[in-house]
Symmetry: C2
Subunit: 180 residues, 2 copies
């Protein structure tokens, strides 16, 4: 699989309200080939612990970091010639911009808003991209974005150092547990 | 867009824990071209109201119904020659079965589990399908499934009778409000 560095930036996380949705967002990012995620808002060690636990069992080294200020990450990203996509229902449809986005091999930061995304994000993003212009979920939007970005190859990634591996079955479950 | 009837069946909804995730699952299903959803577990009128509110503003007629017993829906579905996909990380990879699934034009029921899916579901499903064999989210799994099923055409659906329409922008937001 083409190894372009891809990170997620989740804005304004609130542990009480968003615990499961941010965890699921990061699990989707991890399963679908992203390298790591940043989040801002309130610090929430439970999320970091959940993802580390998943890495230990299921492999890979998806990293999660808390950042106090999204401006700093975005500035640093731009200084390193990284590119920024902001997923928003107000943006240009995915199908019109994905080929442009795929041309580059620069590190890509995918910004996923909470409620009330600052206007500045729209300006700083290289692309504001909509996955339909209908309300749905940041998790479904990110999933389709990554699936298009990686052209479906993300569905066949194998994760290093997994302790648990599923063997696909037509009916039922088959799990291999490895002692490492 | 090819109009194959597609419904979601969400198992074992628990209002306290799953309110947002089931709502987001149904919003994703709606935005990405499904016709409606059933759910079982505990009845939760808030979810139905949220989706109706979205339909009123954003158009379309995605329907949500509570069912007391998943066995009944599945039996009725099979009697009407409908087909059943169960999304599970233990199933056959999407990329290996999607072409088979797309051949038919029969109504399709997509079963999405909560925790502890009954073994019987694996047996009753025509296809147990995995969207990677890694843990992530039912929302991301459903999104990628629908995106592949509808071949990306779901990204351009227009919804009937919308009161609110977004006009895609490279930067910023543009919303049309229609008086109907």
């Amino acid at each position: 699989m083409k190894k372009r560095k891809v990170y997620i930036l989740r804005l304004s996380h609130r542990p009480q309200r968003d615990k499961r949705s941010t965890t699921h967002l990061f699990l989707a990012a991890r399963a679908l080939g992203a390298d790591g995620a940043f989040y801002c808002g309130e610090k929430d060690e439970k999320i970091q612990r959940s993802i580390e636990k998943v890495n230990r069992s299921w492999g890979g080294d998806f990293e999660v970091s808390y950042v106090t200020d999204w401006r700093k990450i975005i500035r640093e990203w731009k200084e390193k010639d990284g590119e920024i996509v902001h997923l928003t229902m107000y943006g240009i449809p995915l199908q019109e911009v994905i080929n442009q986005i795929k041309i580059s091999h620069s590190p890509l930061l995918i910004v996923v808003g909470g409620p009330k995304v600052p206007k500045r994000i729209y300006e700083l993003a290289d692309w504001n991209v909509s996955i339909t212009s209908q309300p749905h979920s940041e998790i479904s939007a990110l999933a389709i974005f990554l699936h298009e970005l990686f052209e479906g190859k993300e569905l066949s990634i194998s994760f290093n150092n997994a302790q648990v591996i599923i063997v696909p079955q037509a009916k039922g479950k088959k799990i291999l547990k490895l002692n490492r």
